[in-house]
């Protein structure tokens, strides 16, 4: 029989099922933006597989090592509850950014609508409305570039920082702990 400490638990279907069930239970109980939840699940998934490898290094079979890892991580409900404040903060940031992004658009749309009503009634809207139309790209002077919504968009900056890599090519931060290599 193969040495259980030498086989890769992540290739073992039973071990994969154990870790998968735990992560699914955790996912069911996390409440917040999907990107934040996905990041939490990726992080804890990595932790669970690292723990499984550590248990395997103590000569456990893959499924037993995965079960030990899951037991070590604790009840998924308790873990999910621990993330509630962070996910609430992430939701707040998302809503705030959404309002920041859509607030001026909604305001401008209303003002343009009011300006159109003035024009429709045969009256010239106040000069301030002309400025707004220019800002929205509707004036002839801005037509070459087109209105703001048709211009090329700059991709948003990366929201997640990537680790700096060392000269050896590795992330340079893993040397302090590796399962079975202590």
């Amino acid at each position: 029989m193969a040495d259980p400490g030498l086989s890769d638990a992540s290739l073992n279907p039973a071990a994969r099922r154990v870790i998968g069930i735990y992560l699914a239970e955790l996912a069911n109980q996390l409440r917040g933006p999907s990107a934040a939840r996905a990041a939490i699940l990726a992080e804890l998934g990595d932790g669970l597989w690292t723990a499984t490898a550590a248990h395997q290094a103590q000569r456990m079979y893959p499924e037993g090592a995965a079960r030990a890892a899951v037991a070590e991580f604790g009840d998924p409900g308790t873990v999910a509850a621990g993330f509630d404040p962070e996910l609430a903060a992430a939701t707040g940031r998302r809503v705030g950014l959404g309002l920041l992004a859509t607030g001026p658009l909604v305001g401008t749309s209303w003002l343009l609508l009011v300006a159109a009503t003035w024009t429709g009634a045969g009256r010239e809207p106040p000069a301030a409305f002309g400025l707004l139309r220019s800002a929205a790209g509707a004036s002839p002077g801005r037509s070459a570039a087109g209105p703001w919504w048709s211009r090329k968009r700059t991709p948003p900056p990366a929201t997640r920082r990537r680790c700096r890599r060392t000269a050896s090519g590795g992330p340079g931060v893993w040397g302090r702990w590796r399962p079975g290599l202590r």
Binding site: G47, G82, F83, P171
Partner: protein
């Protein structure tokens, strides 16, 4: 050692675990276990929300890399985290001296 005993000290312990250098979440828990001779043995899953809280407070920062085909998040102390750790150490010294003095019936140590 139960979680409720550690309540109020977990942040300091996590910052201390990260003081020698960056670690991922599981390695932070292992550092606590090893450094306490196995006496600090919290459910590993509860360490991750605490690390996220410290990051939101600006005491640690994290980055992502790929290790063995999996995405891995690693934490390190920020300068504010180092200052907070120094503060935790100083207040722990004062607290433990006071409790030791009371439990053991010794007078409060006065400077010579």
């Amino acid at each position: 050692m139960r979680a409720e005993v550690l309540k109020g000290h977990l942040d300091g312990l996590l910052l201390a675990a990260l003081e020698p250098g960056p670690l991922h979440g599981y390695a932070v828990m292992e550092a606590l276990r090893t450094g306490s001779g196995g006496r600090v043995d919290l459910p590993t899953g509860t360490v991750y929300p605490a690390l996220h809280r410290l990051e939101r407070a600006g005491l640690v920062r994290s980055c992502w890399s790929t290790e063995g085909g999996r995405r891995r998040r690693t934490y390190e102390l920020t300068p504010a985290g180092s200052r907070a750790l120094a503060g935790e150490r100083s207040s722990w010294q004062e607290f433990s001296t006071a409790v030791s003095a009371l439990l053991e019936g010794r007078p409060w140590p006065t400077p010579a």
